[in-house]
Amino acid sequence: MIDPAAVEVALPRTDVAGTAFRPAQSYWSESWERLRANRVGMAAGGLVLLMVAIAAAAPLLAAYVVHHNPFGIDLYATFSPPSGAHWLGTDEDGRDTLIRLVYGAQVTLTVAFLSVTVSLLVGGTVGLIAGFYGGWLDNVLMRFVDILLSIPAIYLLILLTILQPKIGPVQLSTSDPRSLAVIIAIVSWGGLSRLVRGEVLTIKNRDFMLAARSIGASDLRLVLRHLLPNVLAVMIVAASLNVGAIIITESILDFIGLGIQPPTASWGNMLTNAQTYFYHSVWLVVLPGALIFITVLAMNLFGNALRDAFDPRLKS
């Protein structure tokens, strides 16, 4: 028998008055504070937001600021250098470069964020299921991912864009940004699912999972309520680091003529004929690529900042 009074004496006093102690903070708000302290990351994130805002405001900019529309052909003013009428000059059909870049941002960013969402949904679901259930299901799903990742991405993309297969009721076609996003997602979800599966494997045997299971939680509840919140951070970081790669992939497809088709402007297809502009209109070669570069750079820096914020151990 232990005398409670003796324990009381032996234990250090815990009710010291005036101790400065931090209120309990959730993982997310703690991460947000770390992210906010990262100036480079916040600036990069702000730049991405600015790009999104400009892309969303494209029709307003066309009507009230630039006073041109992206399809307005003016054959009297082809290849005119930057001037008061055309701030960033015109292209081979006399179309205003600035407004085409703005509308191109709309296409590129739509494809990038949509594609990353789709691949996150598919890859996340497959990864969660494979990791949670294990066994033959895990084996089958992961072998399928192996197979998918064995086909070089650029060739798979060429194949999908020329074959334009029908998936259920949806006819994929590259003239539509949403289809293109799906095609790119088909190629890019594999890596995400591997990552999520690996993360699930490290979490699923932790004590809290066992506890939830032992009080009779259903599989669905276990996955959605206990597993998902714990892998969400990894998924968000991986997705944000993927956006840059997807922007590059999309612009490559547009550039070689398999992606968004003219006259719709995209940063990639504005460079398709760039080789013929070398001698007279260098801005047409430099500007679209520079925008791709800056956007991808900002997105990557923001993704790195997110990673550092969510998991300070990984900080490089």
Partner: protein, 331 residues
């Protein structure tokens, strides 16, 4: 390692399924010719094996029945398939796809191996410099360069380099580098000419590798420099140069070797985009040309070929790790 075989089967069946659902049982041009009788169409379809069920078509495409027949396991006559190096014929010119691949493969390998070599030879010294002068201006510049290197689209970098080294140099009356192709058509074989064509594509391709590898080399070197044996070497009075270049560097390079091994599968497909921009007569350029020509069987053959090489490349890389690092063992 045995997982390689099902993966190969999976890759080929996915490729075959894709082509089958889109253009599977069509004999191009025959159905729209009003002067061809139905029985002729049926005969052509029968001769091409298009009236057979999907699974048999797939096995034929692989060449399994022919192999079985060669071994006197089954009778009949069967077409050759992928297992015997027959990747089908082009829809456009009827020539065997494998001939086109074999013709272009050396060009592709020339480009990718050069790029990887440049990447390795530059990445190691840059990474070591960054690690040894951690926090210095050089280190920051190198870090910035590698962050930018990952973000720059390779095709745009190619355009800019052509703009500077081919267009502007010529405009200033200086010797310029050629902007496309692998050789000058009228010169014949001339090593210098080939080399000058190789410079720009190889530089563009190596830039991507350089960005990743130099960063990795830096962190690997930093990690090694903080190890106990490096401290021991310093403590016993060894010269700094010897510590860095004999003890640290060798150990820092090992993880880099594994990273470079990961690029083994990319030897065939990694340079596709650069090939396309520079008109380099490799497999990637060929695939795109045929894609625009709606030559499905040719694209199919290339995709299958590249995927098989990727799987084999992965296998080879795994084996190499096991040899290099005895701690790696397969169960």
């Amino acid at each position: 390692m045995l997982a390689t075989i099902p993966t190969l089967f999976g890759v080929t069946s996915i490729s075959y399924f894709l082509i089958w659902v889109t253009a599977g049982d069509i004999v191009p041009g025959v159905e729209i010719n009003p002067y061809i009788k139905q029985e002729d169409i049926d005969r052509i379809r029968h001769n091409l094996g298009l009236d057979q069920p999907f699974w048999l078509q797939y096995l034929n495409w692989l060449g399994l029945p022919n192999l079985a027949q060669q071994l006197h396991l089954i009778g009949g006559t069967w077409p050759k398939g992928i297992l015997e190096g027959d990747f089908g014929r082009s829809l456009v010119d009827g020539s065997p796809v494998i001939d086109h691949i074999v013709e272009r493969l050396p060009n592709t390998l020339e480009l990718t191996t050069t790029a990887i070599l440049i990447g390795v030879l530059l990445a190691i010294p840059l990474g070591v410099t960054g690690a040894l002068r951690r926090g210095s201006k050089i280190d920051h510049a190198l870090t910035a360069m590698s962050v930018a290197g990952v973000a720059v689209p390779s095709f745009w970098l190619a355009l800019i380099l052509v703009l500077v080294f081919s267009v502007q140099l010529r405009a200033w009356g200086l010797p310029a580098l050629p902007s496309s192709g692998a050789y000058s058509p009228l010169v014949g074989f001339d090593p210098l000419d080939r080399l000058s064509h190789l410079v720009l594509p190889a530089l563009v391709l190596s830039f991507g590798y350089l960005a990743i590898w130099s960063r990795f080399g830096r962190s690997s070197m930093l990690e090694v420099l903080s190890q106990d044996y490096v401290r021991t070497a310093r403590a016993k009075g060894m010269s700094e140069r010897r510590v860095v270049y004999i003890h640290a560097l060798r150990n820092a390079v090992i993880p880099l070797v594994t990273l470079i091994g990961l690029e083994l599968p990319a030897l065939v497909s990694g340079g596709a985009v650069v090939e396309i921009v520079f008109g380099w007569p490799g497999i990637g350029r060929f695939a795109l040309d045929r894609a625009f020509g709606h030559d499905y069987t040719a694209v199919m053959g290339i995709v299958t070929f590249a995927a098989i090489l990727v799987v084999l490349g992965n296998l080879l890389a795994d084996i190499l790790y096991a040899i290099l690092d005895p701690r790696v063992r397969y169960t």
